[in-house]
């Protein structure tokens, strides 16, 4: 499985690298599938409100009102209707890509199970919302989909009389039942939104809005598409005739032909079986993770930096329990901690300069503690030499353990956010190396969500703990690289070496 997953990861990384070229990492749509899904939802919601204003909720008037807004008021009603349809189709696409991507990058097990698990009802509610919307147009496609859906539900036998009977003859379908369908199409998206909120509620600082450039680009795409290729209805529904040749919306209706072929029972089996299997995936098998972070109260002054930086909300601030003159202390929830070490990097006590034999900080990882990190840094500094470079990197980005270059030594950790800025100062200080290169997961791709963002902000001096001003920034290089970017990293190291030589010779090369 690991080898299979790694090959999938590599393929996806190459695809993302291809999209990085025109978009740049921050605007790359492949890295923003979750936020794009949220954005498409808002487009669907707003356009839906407008469409609803013009919509006639009676059986006789529904088709006519939709036709009217499509043709007579094409410039607004028609555009809104097309936005409503195309953005909802795009939602299915972005949702599928989002969950596939999270699966491939193994971001669904362990503490992330909750987000993955709540994604399963999201799929159901998205399909209910989409399919129920198609009923309301009341064309032959609506007739086909409505009858198919009801026959599928009827198989459960939970209603005294088949619901599909409402579509048996023209007289059977009442305005009252049709209004019920309208309500379903309003309430299903509301539930969808509610579950979307639950979906991200355990994530600290969730990203639910795409970058402005990407949002505007997507919106422009939908508007142009709506004008060039507006969404239209098919022939009006006729309950005296069976719908024959249909233009399905395959994003929402790909299962209906399967239903025609297999029947209701196997379809329920498929739908429930796949849902249960997907929901159980975080435990198939469960992720083995290192021990969670531990708080050392002797060194914790309750400054809240670890609490603010933790990407998974695993740290809370509680009233002081040891009688020390501080208001609060950090408390780690072990079941939420991914052992990324970002809290270690954020702790102001995490400094390698102290000479005490047992280097203790306010919060630390039992499996890779600060002392261990300092030992490894010292070892790397000694091997690299005073003209060399120490590369600090993470276990999920480009592999720095086998850097093919003289005088360059790598120190890897669970996340680059674990590196306190004082370590950069330490490595470049007296008896230190000539340069420090910071690397880690590609921009917007951090496995621990916020590691490279916090690192940049600490270096730039906008987030505690700051990198000291005394550190010569020319001797510090930052280069984000994924696993497939080994050659790019080697090229960057060569460039950085040349730069350092130029600095040592009195010049400055960029």
């Amino acid at each position: 499985m690991t080898r299979f997953r790694r090959s999938l990861q590599n393929s996806l990384m190459y695809a993302e690298a291809a999209f990085d070229r025109p978009f740049g990492p921050a605007w790359n749509p492949l890295r923003q599938m979750g936020t794009l899904t949220f954005f498409y939802f808002w487009i669907v919601a707003i356009s839906g409100i407008y469409v609803y204003i013009l919509f006639d909720t009676t059986v006789g008037g529904a088709y006519r009102s939709v036709e009217h807004m499509t043709h007579q008021q094409w410039y607004l009603g028609g555009v809104m209707r097309s936005l409503h349809r195309y953005a909802s189709d795009a939602m299915v696409m972005s949702m599928v890509l989002h969950l596939t991507r999270e699966f491939i990058f193994d971001r669904y097990r362990d503490v992330r199970w909750f987000t993955w698990f709540t994604g399963v009802p999201l799929i159901w509610f998205l399909f209910i919302s989409g399919v129920s919307g198609y009923w309301l147009v009341w064309d032959v496609l609506a007739q086909y989909v409505a009858i198919g859906s009801m026959e599928w539900i009827d198989w459960l036998g939970i209603f005294g009389e088949p619901v599909a009977n409402n579509f048996l003859l023209p007289g059977n379908l009442t305005d009252r039942f049709f209004t019920l369908m309208v309500f379903m199409h309003i309430f299903a998206p509301l539930f969808l939104l509610f579950i979307m909120w639950i979906h991200v509620m355990r994530v600290s600082q969730p990203k639910i809005n795409p970058p402005r450039g990407l949002a505007l680009g997507s919106l422009a795409m939908f508007v142009v598409l709506a004008l060039i290729w507006p969404a239209t209805s098919q022939a009006p529904a006729d309950l005296n005739q069976v719908p024959g040749d249909l233009n399905l919306d395959w994003f929402y209706m790909f299962l209906y032909p399967v239903f025609d072929e297999w029947g209701a029972g196997p379809m329920w089996g498929l739908a429930i079986g796949v849902s249960v299997m997907v929901a159980a995936m975080p435990w198939m098998p469960p992720l083995k993770r290192p021990k969670p972070a531990e708080v050392y109260l002797d060194k914790c002054n309750g400054c809240t930096r670890c609490f603010e930086d933790c990407p998974f909300g695993a740290i809370t601030m509680a009233p002081r329990s040891d009688g020390k003159p501080f208001e609060r202390e950090a408390v780690v929830a072990p079941d939420l901690c991914t052992s990324c070490g970002i809290c270690v990097g954020s702790c102001p006590v995490s400094t390698p300069f102290r000479s005490s034999e047992k280097l203790i900080t306010g919060i630390d990882l039992p499996d890779l503690n600060l002392k261990n990190l300092r030992d490894r840094t010292q070892h790397a500094m000694a091997r690299a030499g005073s003209d060399g470079i120490v590369v600090f990197g993470c276990d999920y980005g480009v592999d720095i353990k086998h850097i093919d270059s003289d005088g360059v030594q790598g120190v890897s950790m669970p996340c680059i956010g674990m590196l306190p800025p004082s370590f950069m100062d330490y490595a470049l200080g007296k008896d230190g190396v000539a340069g420090v290169l910071i690397t880690g997961c590609k921009e917007c791709e951090c496995f621990s969500r916020l590691g490279n963002r916090w690192t940049i902000e600490r270096i730039a001096g906008v987030r505690d703990p700051y990198l000291r001003k005394r550190v010569d920034r020319r001797r510090l290089d930052v280069f984000w690289a994924s696993r497939i970017d080994g050659e790019d990293l080697n090229a960057e190291i060569s460039r950085f070496k040349d730069n350092l030589k130029a600095i040592d010779q009195g010049g400055d090369k960029t």
């Binding site: 999209f19 070229r21 025109p22 749509p29 195309y86 009389e161 309950l239 249909l246 994003f251």
Partner: protein
Amino acid sequence: MSELLGLAPDFPIFYLIPVLVFGPIFFTILYQFGLKDLINPSLEDRQYRQSLKQHEDDLENERSQKLTESGLVSSGLKRHPLQWLGQALTYIMFAGVIAYFSNAPSYQAHPPDKAEIRLSLTHPGRHKVECRKRTREELQKLSANMRAPMSCARERWPLVVKMMLDGKPVFSGSAQPAGLSKDGHSSFYEKFPVSGQPHSIQVQLWDGPATGEPDYVLKRNVSLSPLEILVIGFSNSGQGLTLQ
């Protein structure tokens, strides 16, 4: 009026009356309970908010400036023309996929030369045990408000249906009564695609024990055109099995 509002000519304009009547009332209530602070705050509030916003903006500007000066973040809009072109091509590709699959390829949901017969009937079977009159002793044992003269068991017989098309059996099945006590209606919902030509249909229904002669029979010759739907139903108002 409808035209002015961009609504369909026959849009029932009186639908808007509740909005026009309750809308202002609702708005007034919302205005008094908080909306006022949002859209028309006091001068003091406005000044406080402005100073707060100014402070936040200053912090954010300082932050952005420091980040930009560090050279560690890329500016969003600085792109080579070829990159913009690449983005446009990606959007076109994405839009093409959405536009195509939201309408195509077409799907033949039903053969164009075939009609469809739907057997859709809902009818309660007879009670398994016939009702009987309670004796005086039995009635006296019951509390006063429970003294119904007839005693009826709730459970009903399942319905049994057999259907022949052009002399050949095409369906035979039974349907259990709905409800935990099996005292509800029994329902059938079956679909049969048939060629669009004359057919003879025979349907037999048992609503009691399925032995002996059926309780209801329907025999009819029909001629169907392609895609036409013929519904075999049951009228509980005395007509028995029906064709519609």
